[in-house]
Amino acid sequence: MAAEVNRRDFLNTLGVSVGAALTSAGAALPVVGVAHAQDKPKGNIPDTPFKIGHMTFFTGPAAVLGEPMFKGQQLAAEEINAAGGLLGKRKIELLKADENAGTDANVKELRRLKLSEKIDFFCGITSSGNTPALGPVAEELKLLTIFVDGCTDFLFDKAVPNPHYIFRITNMQSADGVTGAVAAAMTWPKTKKIAHIHPDYSYGRNAFDHFGIVMKKMLPSAENVSEGWPKLGTTDFSSHITKAISSKPDLLAISVWGGDYVAFYKQALRYGMFDKMKVASMIAFGVAPHAIGKDHPEGIIAGVHSNYHFTYPGGDRWPYNKTFVEKYHKRFNEYPNFQAEGGYTATYMLKNAIEKANRLAGGWPDDDAIISMLEGNMMAAPAGYVYIRPDNHQGYKDAVTGFSKNVADYPFPILDPERIITIPIRNITAPPGWPKGEPTSTYTWIDKTWPRAKA
């Protein structure tokens, strides 16, 4: 198990590719968007509205994630409604709820949405603190649910190990730390000393753990020389920057996000941090790509939550992305982030499952029919293929990251289109049936099955 391999072979076994590798879409694969000629639904479809409860952050600092998530779903709902609604009859009606109310209040609101508002479907959720609390309640209420994010591995590892009604669309959290570390190890194999700055809550801890376990395998001679744990919402990083610089690392691993990250990089620039070390971020360009300035240094690993950046797949190569970005930009006058893509894709994933179930049985399908169509469903989404694994109801798509670069087309830096890094998700997440592990199944799977690179 712990056989030694050289690093190049290691990367080959991970299937890491740099550049723009894409396969073409299969003919019968479901795609996002509303086709011009739709199949006529079978049987009688009621024309009552289809109520979706969408809970996400509309206030507080995490609104940078929540608002695009809602807008993604809103865009999909508007497209579907313009074509007549679900199965041509049922118009989607969106009910908003603010996730910022706190976990206990969110659980109450979820019950209220189901019992008083009689929602047909629940969607949204940004925070990893909320999915493990809401997941079991949605199961208990028998409420069909697709979480867009709240991507903690804990949800399907521990909180709801055998989900029936709940699904999740964006990649699992562990993929962030793993992707960042694989990208850093392949790009800067001479790294010996690593400094860390992560927000002090479950996401930052998860990124730290998974970055560490991959480094233990790929760069076994590298060691951690500094750790900084700023509180989420910190915008003064002077002390953390000084601490990291004074430990003289080769590489900084950082999972600070949103407004915190914008403040971080601007301060780090003036402290000369980027001149003194390489930087690998899990999520720098994932949250609000347009909030990053042209002064952002080029050539750092600018993670996108291992999920999606609106410039990839680029050009005309993947029309589902091109169309989505154009429509989203036209509708909201901003570019979509991974949450917007998740909200959009979740809505079409649902629509597709409803149509498939209708084709089999006719009429409006019951939830169990929709669930069995969602299980194992695959779809060509803006980010690429998304696959819902039947055993754990988790969405999987190939992980992506890249290097920051300024180009003339955008007033903010994007991922260098020449050097995108994609990793097949199968190679960096625990397979079906792998025993639940601590801190995550993916962590123990990497620890036990990945070889160690020669130092």
Binding site: A63, V64, E67, D236, K266, Q267, R270, A291
Partner: protein, 292 residues
């Protein structure tokens, strides 16, 4: 040791902003006996106004003009304070303290939503001053010049306030009202006017605190709540109602926070609360507080 001075400057940097916020909070409490929970979002309001002024209205303007416009947030917060005190707070002075807490807490929430509504969820940055100011080398390590400006502004504000409160006629009346409002009123002080002036000055300080951090940190939602919590630690240590206490408290919190991050990352957050708890046990009114 080559980073000693940088650590020291970092500590002074956070102390400078904290003093402005906590000083305003303390001043308002000292004069009006109101714990203004909305104070955090007046600080955030100052940040948003400056971020909007420098980043949108004056985008591309030359550096000296940007420096001149930097206090826009302080002026904005002061104006807001001058409107809020007579309209929202004054009707509650005769009621029990719980009402004031409820009103100022409600105001904290409302201001947060107003800023979200006006400026949206994304961080609003105006970093031209920060970017154009460059860095100075301290023992071979770059240190941002703009941070030195912030430290200087904090120091000047402290000196100015001291002068204002202890050397001017306005200061005498302010202190008299603070010590005995009824007596001051009986002697002919227009208490309503004094209250609105003190509240406006307190808001000006909070807004200035928000304004000066914008070039390096951006304005973000919820910055006000975090700042409010930290400034409560400062006034608990220093003593609520005392400007000297706010200054010493801010310096202590700045130094301990810096040392905590550098050497005790595990208890970085806890150490401030532990210190506040220790002060409460030994001197419940704070280091400079008057027991009433």
């Amino acid at each position: 040791m080559d980073f000693f001075f940088i650590h020291l400057l970092n500590a002074l940097l956070s102390a400078a902003t904290l003093f402005l916020i906590a000083g305003g909070l303390s001043l308002i409490y000292g004069v009006m006996r109101i714990v203004n929970l909305a104070h955090g979002n007046l600080y955030a309001f100052g940040a948003y106004v400056t971020a909007w002024t420098l980043g949108r209205a004056l985008a591309g303007a030359p550096t000296p003009l940007l420096y001149l416009a930097l206090p826009a947030g302080a002026v904005g917060a002061a104006l807001l304070g001058a409107v809020l005190e007579p309209t929202l707070l004054r009707p509650f002075y005769k009621r029990a303290e719980e009402y004031q807490l409820l009103v100022t807490f409600g105001l904290l929430m409302i201001l947060g939503d107003v800023m979200h509504f006006v400026w949206g969820p994304y961080p609003l940055s105006a970093s031209a001053l920060w970017e154009n100011s460059g860095s100075v080398s301290i023992a071979g390590n770059p240190y941002p010049n703009y941070n030195l400006v912030v430290i200087a502004i904090g120091g000047i504000a402290a000196a100015f306030l001291w002068f204002f409160v202890y050397k001017t006629r306005f200061g005498v009346v302010l202190r008299a009202t603070s010590q005995n409002m009824r007596m001051a009123s009986a002697l002919g002080v227009d208490v309503n006017r004094m209250y609105v002036q003190a509240f406006t000055l307190g808001c000006f300080m909070a807004g200035l605190g928000g304004a000066i951090i914008v070039p390096s940190q951006s304005a973000v939602l919820d910055m006000g709540v975090d700042a409010l919590v930290l400034s409560f630690i400062v006034v608990v240590i220093g003593g609520l109602g005392s400007l000297e206490g706010a200054l010493v408290g801010a310096l202590i919190v700045g130094v301990v926070r810096e040392a905590g991050i550098a050497w005790f990352p595990e208890i970085e957050l806890a150490v401030l609360y532990l210190m506040a708890a220790a002060v409460l046990l030994v001197r419940p009114a704070g280091l400079f507080g008057r027991a009433t």
